[in-house]
Amino acid sequence: MSTEAEAAPPFDLDRAWCVDERVAVRPEPFGALLYHFGTRRLSFLKNTTMLAVVRSLGEHPSARSACAAAGVGAALLPAYERALATLAQSRMIRERGSGS
């Protein structure tokens, strides 16, 4: 879960995603901190499951598959989808193959 306040545009769980190359991911007891060197913005991941999802995005054919592998069940998937949408909006993650 991430803490951006504004509503993010829809997120496509079935596409391939990855962490932006300019983002540093630092694990923390509560989850993780993300810092984007291009936008100079910071985001939080509020639990370690979200950290596992984000870290493994680049190895999965889809975000849905990354969530499943991290143990995110159907009931919680919408919340993770929203959190991923927020990270995409703030450019912390990007679609693979989209260049930037």
């Binding site: 540093a24 060197f37 100079r40 703030s90």
Partner: protein, 251 residues
């Protein structure tokens, strides 16, 4: 667990760290927090600075705010910037612009991991140079011209608010806009030589209100230092954006 409870345990490492790299400076600003001017012979060697950066990398500190003194007058400054960014430690540095020529500006513009803050304390040479010294306005503006020409967008123009420049807020904003920079306002603090010049330079009560009103109108486009985050007795928080880690305007 609530986020508040989680944060009570703190972070594993700082998000950023301020590093006064040297007390050497080509200027001798009358409000200098660190009374800079001359290099201290005990300052860290290049090798020791690299070791500090290695430690920051291990701790995963995201970036350092390098200041001084004038950090760019250290002969190893660019080498240390390259070393830090090659080791995943981002660099923001404050400078009066003395070493920002066209080559340096192009080099800075090419790197995602470096941000630059040009210090200037007046929208005109007379107001600025009275505090920062003769020629310092021209030096800072020339540096901004080089950064703009190199395509460095969104560098910071950092201004310490004094009695003599609060009346220039619109002009300072226009100056930042002209160079594609973002205006950053910080409070004058009575530390170092700032303690000696406090009585001549600190904003007066009416000017504090003027600053508050100006920030209320323009705060979304302006960065401020931490000390701007307070609840004003006028009954509302100041709307300016903080430039440190709560950089998303969520505070």
């Amino acid at each position: 667990m609530s986020l508040v409870e989680q944060f009570e345990r703190g972070l594993d490492a700082p998000i950023c760290l301020t590093w006064e790299l040297t007390y050497a400076c080509n200027l001798a600003c009358v409000h200098c927090l660190s009374s800079s001017g001359r290099r201290d012979p005990r300052e860290l060697s290049t090798a020791e600075c690299r070791e500090v950066i290695d430690t920051l990398q291990r701790m995963q500190v995201f970036y350092v705010n390098i200041g001084g003194g004038e950090p760019t007058v250290r002969p190893d400054f660019w080498e240390l910037v390259d070393y830090a960014t090659a080791h995943q430690v981002g660099v923001k540095f404050s400078t009066n612009g003395i070493k920002i020529d066209s080559a340096a500006a192009r080099r800075l513009a090419a790197c995602d991991y470096v941000d630059v803050q040009i210090s200037l304390d007046g929208a005109t040479a007379d107001v600025n140079d009275a505090v920062r010294g003769a020629g310092s306005y021209v030096t800072a503006v020339r540096a901004m011209e080089h950064l703009r020409a190199a395509g460095f967008e969104g560098f910071k123009l950092s201004v310490v608010m004094t009695r003599h420049n609060i009346g220039q807020l619109d002009e300072l904003k226009a100056l930042a806009d002209r160079y594609g920079a973002q205006l950053r306002l910080t409070r004058f603090r009575p530390s170092g030589r700032g303690a000696d010049s406090w009585h001549e330079l600190h904003p007066e009560a009416g000017q504090q209100r003027q600053l508050y009103d100006w920030l209320s109108r323009h705060g979304e486009q302006v960065l401020t230092g931490d000390s701007f985050f307070h609840l004003a007795p006028y009954g509302g928080p100041l709307p300016a954006r903080n430039s440190s880690w709560i950089a998303n305007g969520h505070a």
